[in-house]
Amino acid sequence: MSDKRRIGVYVCHCGGNISDYVDVEQVRDAVKDDQDVIISKNVMFACSDATQQEIIEDIEREKLDGLVVASCSPTLHLQTFKAVAQRANLNPYQYTQVNLREQCSWTHRNNMESATEKGIKLVRAGIARTRLTEPLTNIRIETKPRTLVIGAGVAGLRAALALADLGLAVFVVEKESEVGGWTKKWGKMFPNNRLGNDTIEYLLEQVKQRENITLFTDAELIEKGGNVGDFSIKIRVKEGETVSLDVGAIIVATGFDSYEPFDGEYGYGLNGVVTLPQFKEMVDKSNGSLNFNDHQVKNIAYIYCVGSRQPEDGEIENPNLYCSRYCCSAAVHTASCVADIDPNINQYHLYRDMRTYGKYEVMFENAGKKKSLFIRFDDESSPEVEVSNGALIVKVNDALDGGEEIEIGADLIVLVTGMVPRENESLTNVLKIPIGLDGFYNEIHPKLRPVETVVDGVFISGTSQGPKTLAESVTSSLSAVSKSAALLMKGYVDLEPFIAEVDTDKCVWCGECEKSCPYGAIEKVVCDTKEVATIIPALCKGGGVCIPDCPEDAIEIKGYTDQQIRSMIDALAKEVA
């Protein structure tokens, strides 16, 4: 393109995140006289309101037709600066984000000189691409006012109700034959002692009263096509039958699995060593007194953090490094329930840090008042469970008493087990949403976008995202309702225009591209008596698989043209003067 362009370049300090390792002033100066660069500036925080305003004023005053911000990863702020361009009446697709933080300063902390050189090359590549950008327009599609909720536990059911109350149709898919998940199995739940089963019964009753909720049990999602606002999904229902549906959004509420200790872990497998959910069931079902093996229980020892906060370099393969959040509170609450059944039972809690956060602190205090004894052990010296003369014994070094070893004889040893991510590989593959280091589904950003995933229109909620209490699960599922309802009630969604485009002069219709497209987005048309390929915008994903298959080099992806990519490679390969 021989046209002269007017490009503004902003090199961000990121308050030291970039400028501590990259000489941002040198980067600014290196590109300030480059072809078509009108403005080259340093800014402390490019994303700050004041700087955004400054960029807008620069664009308007200098009549810029291209914008480059060299700051952080596009996943964080591409949308921010596209919006800046838009507010200055610059087409957002004439903006290029250069990732000077994740791909430069943070990765090259030990060599400022080389990092700066790389920074200059990255910014030049950004300028090169921007020089070849053209204004593009979003593709607008209508959204389907229907949501799929996966999982009918407390989070899924509550989400379904909230969506239905907003006038949106809901399909709930539950793998099991019964709804309710873990909550249905439990009796008194903290902090208000409502029965888990009552909660589920209430929600199910409410669901039944709403005409726009369809509940599938024994069902599974097996296919997902389409895109945000217009997914086409397939559900396998009983007896190999499938149902096809169109929905605008998907909320994942698949819950958690309880940690299953391995054989011998704190004596697991011995008679009288139980997990927290198993113990909870015993307490819930006890009638007047707590019995085990037909004997009245007198002494209980709880061992905390089983399956959670496991050491990184210990003997356990793939340790769970994370804290399971709910177990401390659940254990002290259960201990209070036990004391209510029989106040004479001695309860010993072997813990590391008592994480009864916020108002749950009060439950910890109450347990202490009801004959629970708390014994802290160090990360390095875990308790040991033994059998002596047919009786269970826990040995522990009491950190609160100078590490003195004490022995506790117990009728029951409760392993306070945490939450682990649910095994759900086939569903994960269908949804194509990412999993974090801890194995739970990963949000885009824990603070800014906590229920959104990298797949637009697919939201995560409840314990599928990480350990949570009941109230927290419901809170997060309602948050996902907010997001999906906001998307669907707007009625349309704008998709990025990065789709394929056919050069009809070059195309000779050989049909190769049609064969290669997995989405069926290419078809043959007659254009001025000549047979050529054409792209169906709503179906094209911009995947680009058709491009290398075209013998005539007649297809390009808008916004990522060969010419643009080549210019970036040239800029990256060129020595910094």
């Binding site: 308050g15 994370y322 959040r325 108002k359 602190e361 160090d378 950190a399 906590p450 229920v451 907010s482």
Partner: protein, 446 residues
């Protein structure tokens, strides 16, 4: 004869106009942290004096300087500090009068340079105790013959007009400078009436007032700060671009965090855990490790509550970086020499009973309290129901989170309980869903 700064002791009233002029001319700052090159003081109760560099002919400071950074300016006769100074501070020890200083705030050696030949101190001295004149001045002994510009009273009045606070003088420069047009001097409060079907109350929390924990000495000892103050000191836009302690601007090298200040503490009336303090303290500790790599950082805790997603991993990372975690509640904090502080605590993990440890900066990790103003937001007699701890009550926290005792009013964030940012955001999302659902149902029923 060249001009000199000549001081006449019996005229001085120790009004400190000279100090302020000096600090302003050299740093554009009236703050106490901008160290003046001239110092006024009172000693033996009523002797007032100004100490100013003699610009000695055979100057010890100049002789001791290893890099020859102190150079006499032939035009003024003043010895000036040049850029080759390596901050060894030898000159400060060599000066027999104590008139050359190290300024820890600006990280430089400061001494009188006669302001390039027009000393500001002499210009502003209201009693003419300091004059810029040739030596020997004929009138110096004949005090009575010199007319005083100001009486002592007037001099003090003049000096005290400055509030030493860098406060607003309404000059309006900021209005011009602000790119976001965020400053208006002529704004008036106005009442705006909005009709709404639903209200979301997101009025946040109140911070625990650290003064109330009297045995920690906040407000009494300058180097006991709150974590909110520390957040400013470690932020990327921190004052003077360095982390320093309040009393003397020194870079701290042994910092303590005292967790649960104002939380889990019935003595100050808050039995609850504040949920955020463990994590923000660990975050600040990690940031401090970056800005002060040689500093020792100790966190005194009861339980480390790293319960959120990724939090435990963040806690372990801090341990690996070398942050000391000491289990034990701090009993009291007392001052020792040089502005340092002695922290008394029970050493639980070490098992050695009551211990004390010296630190040069102590950060109180203060907790969250309910904002009770929220309860009375609604004027028509409807009071939002509170829970046992005076937070706005969520009447059915499990199934209907964010719903309050007033129909159509929802809470979001820390209005109903202490919450960290991720949980506040989720809670706000839930409040939005609840409010939207409420309005939708309201309209459908009409």
């Amino acid at each position: 004869m060249a001009k000199q700064l000549i001081f006449t002791p019996n005229r001085c009233v120790d009004c400190k106009n000279c100090e302020m002029a000096c600090s302003f001319v050299h740093t554009r700052d009236f703050t106490k942290l901008a160290m003046p090159r001239v110092q006024a003081f009172t000693f033996k109760e009523d002797i007032k004096a100004v100490s100013v560099c003699q610009q000695c002919e055979d100057a010890p400071c100049q002789k001791v300087c290893p890099t020859g950074a102190l150079v006499r300016n032939p035009a003024t006769g003043a010895i000036e500090r040049t850029d080759s100074c390596i901050l060894c501070k030898s000159c400060t020890l060599a000066c027999p009068y104590g008139n050359i200083h190290f300024d820890p705030v600006y990280d430089e050696i400061v001494k009188c340079d006669f302001c390039g030949g027009d000393p500001a101190c002499a210009k502003v001295c209201p009693t003419r105790a300091l004059v810029w004149a040739e030596e020997p001045a004929p009138d110096i002994k004949q005090d009575a013959e010199i007319e005083r510009v100001f009486t002592e009273e007037e001099a003090r009045y003049s000096a005290n007009r400055c509030l030493d606070c860098a406060d607003c003088s309404e000059c309006g420069e900021c209005v011009k400078a602000c790119p976001a047009d965020a400053i208006h001097f002529d704004m008036q409060p106005e009442e705006i009436k909005i009709e709404a079907n639903s209200v979301i109350v997101s009025t946040g929390f109140k911070l625990f007032d650290a003064h109330l924990k009297t045995n920690y000495g906040y407000g009494k000892y300058p180097n006991v700060v709150t974590a909110m103050q520390m957040d400013r000191l470690v932020s990327p836009t921190k004052p003077y671009n360095r982390t320093m302690r309040p009393s003397d601007g020194k870079a701290p090298d042994n910092i303590a965090f005292v967790l649960c200040t104002g939380s889990r503490d019935c003595t100050i009336g808050n039995p609850l855990c504040s949920r955020v303090c463990c994590m923000y303290s660990i975050k600040q500790a990690q940031l401090l490790m970056g800005s002060l790599p040689l500093a020792d950082i100790t966190i005194y805790y009861i339980d480390i509550r790293a319960f959120g997603k990724g939090y435990e991993e963040f806690y372990q990372q801090a341990k690996e970086m070398g942050v000391y975690f000491v289990k034990g509640r701090v009993a009291k904090i007392e001052p020792v020499e040089d502005g340092n502080l002695s922290v008394f605590y029970e050493d639980i993990d070490g098992g050695s009973g009551q211990q004390q440890m010296e630190h040069d900066l102590v950060v109180l990790s203060i907790g969250l309290l309910p904002n009770m103003d929220a309860l009375n937001l609604f004027k028509n007699g409807d009071r939002l129901e509170a829970d046992a701890y005076s937070y706005v009550k969520e009447i059915n926290e499990d199934i209907e989170p964010t719903r309050t005792s007033i129909d159509g009013v929802f809470v979001a964030g820390t209005t109903s309980a202490a919450r960290d940012i991720p949980d506040s955001i989720l809670h706000a999302g839930a409040a939005a869903a609840q409010a939207a659902g409420y309005i939708h149902q309201l309209k459908a029923s009409r």
